[in-house]
């Protein structure tokens, strides 16, 4: 043992030596050409134009929702919000069953978010840090499922749901979306870097079984990424339209379905439709204003790089 022990430690000693050049790297990152050029006035003007275009439709939703249809469609459209907002929301509320729709949207989005967080963190951890047979191609399979549009399976899905007695029920939109391939990929990418093997091994030496490791080691480390994934999943679940529109009906809709049906009525009043659109968008806008930075960071960290 005494003879062999120096040999394995040699590379370990070498590692810090080669790493000593690493601290230079971040600083070079900062001075370099690509990222560090200061934005000129043109950059600000261009961004302001794009920003204006991004926000204008949302502002227009508010204007249209707070006026009468005649004012909105007048030959010179209004540019400031009017005083009809509460009245229009009340009308939309009665016409489109909005109270129930909001409750349903909250139930559906929260259950999907919780389930996605739980299952995707587990799977992401397994793919990131556990060794098992078939890991490579199973991960490829997960990513491949991203390329299958939901359109391809809605017909049998609809028949299955009605067979299970879930026709028109919230279960029919919750169960197919309990997991997401993006979520698995996202958690895996995060845990590969954020969770050191040493931590897992230390827990094993202390006699922790795998479940214990997940609860006491993986979950605390994964929490920041879970926050971001939770927000992204919630946004997606809240805004989902295609399958809920096919699966649910007017008596038991989510917010988006109710909105679609509000506009599909015989002669929809545009102001009232816009009031409904405002109600369905507002919660997410609040989330964006509060957590904007986190969401931006989350989308960027989940991106495929180089």
């Amino acid at each position: 043992m005494t003879m062999t022990s120096p040999t394995p430690t040699a590379p370990v000693k070498l590692a810090p030596a080669s790493k000593s050049s690493a601290p230079q790297r971040p600083s070079r990152f900062r001075i370099g050409a690509g990222q560090q050029m200061k934005g000129g006035p043109f950059a600000y003007v261009a961004l302001a134009v794009v920003g204006f275009g991004s926000l204008l439709p949302l502002y227009w939703t508010l204007v249209a929702a707070s006026r009468t249809q005649d004012e909105v469609l007048a030959s010179t459209p209004p540019f400031l919000p009017g005083g009809k907002l509460i009245e229009n929301i009340q009308t939309a509320w009665e016409q489109a069953n909005l109270g129930k729709a909001i409750l349903n949207s909250v139930i559906v989005s929260s259950s999907i978010t919780l389930a996605t967080l739980f299952f995707c963190t587990l799977a992401g951890y397994a793919f990131a840090k556990m060794r098992f047979r078939g890991r490579g191609w199973l991960m490829t399979a997960v990513i491949a499922t991203l390329t299958i549009p939901p359109q391809l399976s809605v017909v049998p899905l609809f028949m299955m749901m009605s067979g299970l007695g879930w026709g028109g029920q919230l279960e029919s939109v919750i169960f197919p979306t309990l997991v997401s391939a993006f979520g698995v990929f996202f958690m895996r990418q995060y845990l590969i870097e954020a969770l050191p093997y040493e931590l897992i091994e230390a827990a094993k030496i202390d006699g922790a079984n795998n479940l214990r490791i997940v609860v006491s080691v993986v979950l605390p480390v994964a929490r920041p990424a879970m926050m971001v994934l939770g927000m992204l999943t919630f946004v997606q679940a809240w805004n989902d339209f295609f399958w809920p529109y096919l699966a649910l009906n007017q008596q038991n809709p989510t917010l988006q379905v109710a909105l679609g049906q509000l506009s599909a009525s015989y002669t929809p009043d545009q102001s009232i439709v816009m009031a409904g659109a405002l109600i369905s968008t507002l919660p997410l806008l609040v989330v964006f204003v509060v957590f904007g930075k986190k969401i931006v960071g989350g989308i960027m960290s989940g991106a495929v790089k180089g």
């Binding site: 049998p156 391939a181 909105l259 506009s263 599909a264």
Partner: protein, 332 residues
């Protein structure tokens, strides 16, 4: 030894517990077996939920769609299936409306994806500068992503409205006559593309930005030492480094355009939405599927449409692969 990962077996006997009599040794054997089982089975248990849910609600229905496509199934009686062979495929493949939807989907896909990704690339380049309030700009361009398809489509329906629409008013200021956007073959496709572009440009810009920030700066330094201008650096360093990301966004946007549903359904709403306009001028494949299955109530042909979409996707994937190979070869 020092560098190899310790396996659980090495620690099956917890050091704290003192060694005892044979009965406890047997217990420890059991324990060691349990540990090993835990190690072997846990990863599969952790990934199982994903595959179970996908199998039940993704893969199985996808395959079953093909079976339904060979049957007569009506919305009014979901339990009864009657074998009809290729009739459903025959029906849709000889329906001019189907081919209109195919070409519409393709055209809208191109005029929404190409400008969107080009603008996103430019935006990412701008956001990659050192900016004041950079988080603010990033959040602002991402706000459309927070808006649902339904809300976005309904607001833009109001903007593109023929009588009293915001866009016609603005164009009127510079002397244009009113345009009936939803009625025209090209204008309706442009209107739908605008909704798509509005919602997704910021999102794609952030994905490009992330990739740009991962490009090592040595490359830029070397390029500027060689006397490359900013534009040359963008073309010769940034774009090639971003190629995998660009390919990824092209694939995702292509799949996304196959799925366009809310935008055409709600542009005019009501009965017109369900047929994609009075002359099907903006009917996409998803609308065609919905109209056959949920509006007219014939699920057999709707399933056939789904498999036709699958075939189209495979063709696009193959084309993508060939083009990618060709580009890579010519780049070397």
């Amino acid at each position: 030894m020092a560098t190899s990962t310790p396996t659980r077996d090495a620690y099956a006997t917890p050091p704290r517990e003192p060694q005892k009599q044979p009965p406890s040794e047997r217990r420890q054997l059991w324990r060691s077996r349990l540990w090993r089982f835990d190690d072997k089975a846990s990863p599969y248990a952790y990934i199982a939920p994903f595959f179970l849910v996908f199998g039940a609600f993704g893969l199985y229905p996808l395959l079953y769609t093909g079976w339904i496509a060979l049957h007569r199934v009506e919305m009014t009686g979901l339990d009864s299936m009657e074998w009809v062979g290729w009739e459903n495929f025959d029906k849709i493949l000889h329906d001019p409306e189907f081919w209109t939807s195919v070409s519409n989907t393709f055209l809208i896909g191109v005029i929404s994806t190409v400008p969107q990704l080009l603008v996103a690339l430019g935006l990412a380049h701008l956001l990659n500068y050192r900016l004041r309030a950079s988080t603010f700009w990033r959040t602002v361009i991402l706000t459309p992503y927070a808006t649902s398809v339904a809300s976005a489509a309904l607001v833009f329906a109001l903007v593109f409205r023929a009588d009293g629409g915001l866009l016609n008013w603005a164009l009127g200021l510079v002397g244009f006559d009113d345009t009936n956007w939803a009625n025209g073959h090209w204008t309706s496709k442009i209107a739908i593309s605008v909704i798509v572009i509005w919602r997704w440009t910021g999102y794609n810009a952030l994905i490009y930005l992330a990739a740009m920030q991962a490009v090592p700066n040595d490359l830029y330094e070397a390029a500027s030492l060689d006397g490359a201008s900013r534009w040359q650096q963008f073309r010769k360093v940034t774009i090639p480094s971003l190629r995998p990301t660009i390919l990824f966004t092209i694939v995702i946007s292509t799949i996304g355009s196959m799925q366009l549903f809310g935008e055409p359904l709600l542009l005019e709403g009501g009965a017109l939405g369900a047929t994609g306009g009075n002359e099907n001028q903006y009917e996409t494949l998803s609308i065609y599927l919905y109209n056959y299955g949920w509006n007219l109530g014939h699920l057999g042909p709707a399933a056939a449409v789904a498999w036709a979409m699958l075939a189209l996707l495979l063709i696009i994937a193959a084309a993508n692969w060939f083009i990618g190979r060709f580009v890579r070869k010519s780049a070397v």
